[in-house]
Assembly symmetry: C2
Homo-oligomer: 115 residues x 2
C-alpha cells in the first residue's frame, strides 16, 4: 500500500483505540493539526483504502438510527505502523508567514516610522 499524507495519522489514531472517521477528524483538529493536518476529503477515502489493504477493519456500530462505522487496527496494520515508527525518514515541510516577513523585513527602504 502506497502511503498518502494521512496514512500514518489514521493508522496511529486507530492503533490507540477504535475510532470513527468523525472522531479522528476531531482529534486531529484539536492537537495533531499543529504539525500534521487532515481534512474529511482525505480521511474518509483513506479509511476505505486502509481497510481494503487490511491494515484496519471497520465495524458498523450505529447509534440509534444514525449510521456509524468504527475502525480498529489489525495485526497487519500494527506491523505496518511499527515499520513506520522505526523508520528514520523525516519529511518536514512548513510555511511560516512570519518567518517570510522576517526574511524580507529589510527588503524595502526604511520609512523611519519608529525613529
Amino acid at each position: 500500500m502506497q502511503p498518502t499524507a494521512v496514512t500514518w495519522v489514521l493508522l496511529g489514531l486507530v492503533a490507540l483505540g477504535p475510532r470513527t472517521g468523525y472522531e479522528i477528524k476531531r482529534i486531529v483538529d484539536r492537537s495533531i493539526r499543529h504539525f500534521w493536518a487532515a481534512s474529511y476529503g482525505q480521511i474518509y477515502p483513506e479509511l476505505k483504502r486502509l481497510e481494503e489493504a487490511g491494515w484496519i477493519a471497520g465495524d458498523d456500530a450505529p447509534r440509534g438510527g444514525r449510521a456509524r462505522r468504527v475502525y480498529r487496527i489489525t495485526a497487519l496494520g500494527r506491523r505496518a505502523l511499527r515499520g513506520w515508527l522505526e523508520g528514520r525518514e523525516t519529511r518536514i515541510e512548513m510555511r511560516d508567514e512570519s518567518l517570510l516577513r522576517l526574511f524580507f523585513s529589510d527588503a524595502l527602504p526604511r520609512d523611519y516610522g519608529l525613529g
Copy 2:
C-alpha cells in the same frame, strides 16, 4: 490582485534586486524553502500575473542567444509589499514527520527492544 502562496516570495526577492525566474528558484531552493517552498510551476505563472498587476516589470535581457527576462519591482509593487510586511496575519502550516512519530511513539505495545 488576489495573492497566491508565492506572491510575497517573488515580490520580496524582486524587491531585493532585479531577478530572473531561474534565479528566484535557485535562491528559494537554497534558503527560503526551509520555511516557504516554491516550484517552477508556481513561479513562472505568478511572475506573469505580478507583471499584469503592475507590481513588477520585466525586461528582456538575453545572454547571447539565450532568452532571459529580468524582473524589477515597481512603485505599486513596493506599496503592496509594504502593506504585507506591516500586516499581522500569520498563516502557519507544517508537516513534521518526526513529531508525528513522537506523537505515536507509544501507540503500540512495547517490544522491549532496548530492555
